[in-house]
Symmetry: C2
């Protein structure tokens, strides 16, 4: 890993969002414009729901990955902005549908669509975001983007379906867990970077390196997110506490806990996992505190974040590349 990427520069990493804003702020505003122009509707109900969904938009990580990958490879073109809007729509669609699945009441401190309106609106508005994403992708010259995004979304759906199937399986292994998060999270991050590099005219090696960067980053982000779901409180992360536990979705910290507990603790932990109530939760947290599970999970997230940075080794130094490295570092920072 080259020094400029993970060296002392990162001490100033806290102001990363501000520097990204300074570097590609105008491009991100262009992306927003494309996003809202595509989703504009004469139907006031649609406008109303869209306005609401916009309030819980996050840091626009995926558009950033796409634009920074473009910049690290060559120049940012109009096609990149279009595609950045496409991936943001797909991400929004999965969030809206996830909230139906999780029966979540808040996301980033804002009521979810299903809590504010109803499940029907969530399902249909998620569909609306999906179909507009595909429509917008089809405005590019060739079918390359449609095909690439179509394949990625197929994999995302399979990842989500696998996750549901494994719910309540308290012997879920680490390998299966990684396979699930690779589908449901890492695939889209990988495709963002791939599209950024491809549409900037990157050679096969560059495109592949950036795709791998995105995949490793996505895995690191999801592991960190799953850890936060356990460690965080509602006020800190804007999500309900232990929501994965409540839905009996086993994530890495608890997988590690189950796998490395001796009997009779392991049996007791499985029992607590199936309890899915507040009392079981506090007892599980006590087990977690005396185990290496949290430390192990942090190390795993850091491992994938480092792998992400290593994927950038062959890419020439540039502000875009540096910011991609910093994002990888940032991925796990939240869990400390």
């Amino acid at each position: 890993m080259s020094k400029d990427v993970t060296g002392p520069d990162l001490t100033g990493q806290q102001d990363l969002p501000a520097r990204v804003e300074e570097f590609i702020g105008q491009e991100l505003r262009d992306v927003d414009e494309i996003y809202f122009a595509e989703l504009a509707s004469a139907n006031p109900y649609v406008t109303d729901v869209l306005g609401h969904v916009t309030r819980f938009r996050g840091k626009r990580l995926r558009p950033m990955l796409l634009l920074l990958s473009a910049s690290a490879t060559g120049r940012i073109h109009h096609s990149h902005k279009t595609l950045a809007a496409v991936v943001e729509m797909i991400h929004s669609a999965t969030l809206v549908h996830d909230d139906v699945l999780d029966e979540a009441e808040t996301r980033r401190h804002v009521a979810t669509v299903n809590a504010r309106w109803n499940n029907e609106t969530s399902v249909l508005f998620g569909d609306y975001l999906f179909t507009h994403a595909f429509h917008l992708a089809s405005t590019l010259e060739t079918t390359y983007a449609c095909r690439t995004i179509g394949r990625a979304t197929n994999i995302i759906c399979e990842g989500e379906l696998s996750q549901i199937r494994e719910r309540g399986n308290f012997d879920l292994g680490e390998e299966k867990y990684l396979q699930i998060i690779n589908g449901k999270t890492a695939e889209l991050c990988a495709v963002c970077c791939l599209l950024g590099a491809h549409y900037a005219g990157g050679d096969a090696q560059t495109v592949e390196s950036l795709e791998s960067y995105g995949r490793n980053l996505g895995i690191a982000f999801q592991i960190a997110d799953d850890l936060l779901d356990i460690l965080g409180s509602e006020s800190e992360t804007g999500k309900s506490l232990g929501s994965d536990f409540a839905k009996q979705k086993l994530t890495l910290p608890l997988i590690r806990l189950v796998e490395h507990a001796d009997e009779p603790d392991a049996a007791r932990i499985r029992e607590l996992l199936s309890g899915a109530d507040a009392k079981s939760w506090s007892q599980l947290l006590a087990f977690l505190e005396t185990s290496d599970a949290v430390e192990y999970t942090r190390a795993k997230a850091q491992h994938y974040a480092s792998s992400a940075c290593q994927c950038l080794a062959g890419i020439p130094n540039s502000p875009g590349k540096r910011m991609l490295s910093e994002i990888a570092e940032f991925a796990t920072r939240r869990t400390f």
Copy 2:
């Protein structure tokens, strides 16, 4: 309207499915093969849900419309079969998501996905069908199909969202109703015919005529379907009785009833509509019997079916064209 289209030939119309099978049976089997190849998954859970959804597939009207429009315009190519699989996937996706919305327990006598598994599986499996549809469309040479299908699915989602918004509005007018069903049903039928004609090399006039045929047919079908929802019984149509009434979705027969009732009947009818229970339902049926609403609705469905046939007037006679005409006739036949 030319004689061969709606003339005495139609007396043998009962065996239409058999004749369609004889005419394009092999092509429909090819479509099935493409459909299942695209949706094949290494995930046994996905295979399981897909196998189940397949059991409530209907008459494959949309693939038929696409192939027959191709045949009426020129020749059926491989791209038509691919697109026929695409439109069937989109239709399947909307059915799976509709069943979440309707909380339906059976469809065509088979348990719905949400009744057999859960809402989460329905949402994700519907997404899986949508994304595979777009992926499959992107395997064609140009972005034309992606763009056309993307635009159509945007309109379908808006139609469905409008419908939800108008639920419980007992003063929904006929115009708004037609606008909703034009989106949620007629758009996809129109696009099937448009794609069939376009990919068979039809000129602008032919493509437009067939698109209009599909739109009118779709409206006729939906009006007939809405009438059946009121008149039919669960055993006859495979749907729950009066499900639109139960969800406070106003359809044409009840719109007509409300609009043409004098006070105090009109007030009483609105009250019964808001009741949404069995007792209100039987009293509403009594009001319907003494009104012209059922007759009016049938006439409307027939009007759109006739318009569909008229759209074919400029298309040269062929077996494909004749079958399209017969399908239009068949659209309203079910309600007698």
